[in-house]
Point group: C2
Chain length 324, copies 2
Amino acid sequence: MATRPTIRDIREAAKRIQPWVHQTPVLTSSTLNDLCDAEIFFKCENFQRGGAFKIRGATNAVFSLEEEEAGKGVATHSSGNHAAALALAAGWRGIKAHVVMPENAPRVKKEAVAGYGAEITFCEPTLRGRETALAQVVNRTGARFIHPYNDTMVISGQGTAALELCEKVPDLDVVIVPVGGGGLLSGTAIAVSGATAAIPVFGAEPENADDAYRSLKAGKIIPSENPDTIADGLLTSLGDLTFPIIQALVRDIVRVSEEDILRAMRLIWERMKIIVEPSSAVPLGALLAHRKALPGHRVGIILSGGNVDLSTLPWERKNRMMQG
Amino acid sequence: MATRPTIRDIREAAKRIQPWVHQTPVLTSSTLNDLCDAEIFFKCENFQRGGAFKIRGATNAVFSLEEEEAGKGVATHSSGNHAAALALAAGWRGIKAHVVMPENAPRVKKEAVAGYGAEITFCEPTLRGRETALAQVVNRTGARFIHPYNDTMVISGQGTAALELCEKVPDLDVVIVPVGGGGLLSGTAIAVSGATAAIPVFGAEPENADDAYRSLKAGKIIPSENPDTIADGLLTSLGDLTFPIIQALVRDIVRVSEEDILRAMRLIWERMKIIVEPSSAVPLGALLAHRKALPGHRVGIILSGGNVDLSTLPWERKNRMMQG
């Protein structure tokens, strides 16, 4: 499956997932435009089913399986949005989803995945514990492993968000999306380069988890070491499928401080009246930090998701973290 | 000005304010539909300019003034969304806005009104202090007093939100909006009765500020006494212009407990990923409390605004209030 997807794969994904996922709206804010000296178009994947863009890739992967293979179910390891998305998509197809999660995953995440009907296997909170548990599940069930980002069908699905954005706002000057494992960024880069006149695509990455930035500079994958950022969807490192696509098609990676991520997230909540998770705010954080960089440009941003624990505010948690 | 507005006034208001206000989107949520056993269409005035529907009435009032009268400016007393809206609309027309506010108004509200360029006069936090200060401002400046809700042009402007909702979703079975002073509710009732086949309009009101409910039962205006609700936009009592419209055109007032308001607000934040102020959540609170009342109905709800202080979460504040 590790073939590099093309714009045609993304168009096929768009058709395949269309009955299941939302065509999310594109919102604008004159206040944020003024603050950034740009015209920003926010593609609101926080309104997507499951609360994040991840359902696009998961649905594309699940519904492109042959009948027989699908019958054995799907499996993944994730404590985040991909696991919930895979559970949801598997439910739509009527097949089983097996999710390996660390025992210490947040309760809300466990409940979300279980609520979508997945079978959860808990593992020790280490890479080795996770991989062992996943291998056991796959051996036992024959389920197909769907990687959170290093997968052709997942990347193709994630690219459909940018496809919709470019169709809705055809004359963008630049697109910026967050980068963690690179599924969204690589899919976006393929979609944008295929769908419009070539315009630059940037990744926005937390300074405190800047493996994509360092990997591009080094010309090889350099995994994250102890990444520590409020943008908890972006802790993962690039994969051997996403990295070369990003190398080939992405103009640059912009690193964003924790302070700018928090500031951007709070502005989105206060000014746009929408709830986004910290990872979603990283591209706007990049614009705020470099406001003279794209004067008057029409900038497309994908707000990747809105799954935050609302029992405390993100900036309060962060304050506590920083004090603690 | 105390003539009862008609559907024609609302249509004229829609044309008058069209260059200035947003046509806000209508959102849906399958989770909330399931929870309420209804099909709900949320008109998102939390995305409106100034963060609330109030800009509709204020803009209609400001732009319907004759040139000479407008030159003397406008004035109001309010510590909430109407004051900010009037300041914003006056700025668009290039005239002065004078706002009388109690000294103890929250800092964020003072800053919002001042930020929109209004001239603030502080008064003692009593009805008498407010009225005296307003009379002095009006005498000194000749400014036109624009009442927050008991005003023909304001009511006509507020009715444009329901007009847009009925145009976008023409086959609604019922419309529910929050009621405080009754500007939104009376405007909505006129718009709905004029725009569509007669469908019922309900007001939703906090139990702890149920003057509209009691006024309708009594057949005369019964002002609120010490209203105490988290829905701080709904503390005001009906006026002599809004009351008879509501009497004639509104099917009923549904009272909602503080618990149901909070529950509804949290569901909107968590499931729809949008930020609404407590007042906006009252209609959904009514549906949650009476989920068998409208089985399968297509229900239009106006989410009145999204101006909340994001330094603490509303449910945390409420917990503290209830403990305190």
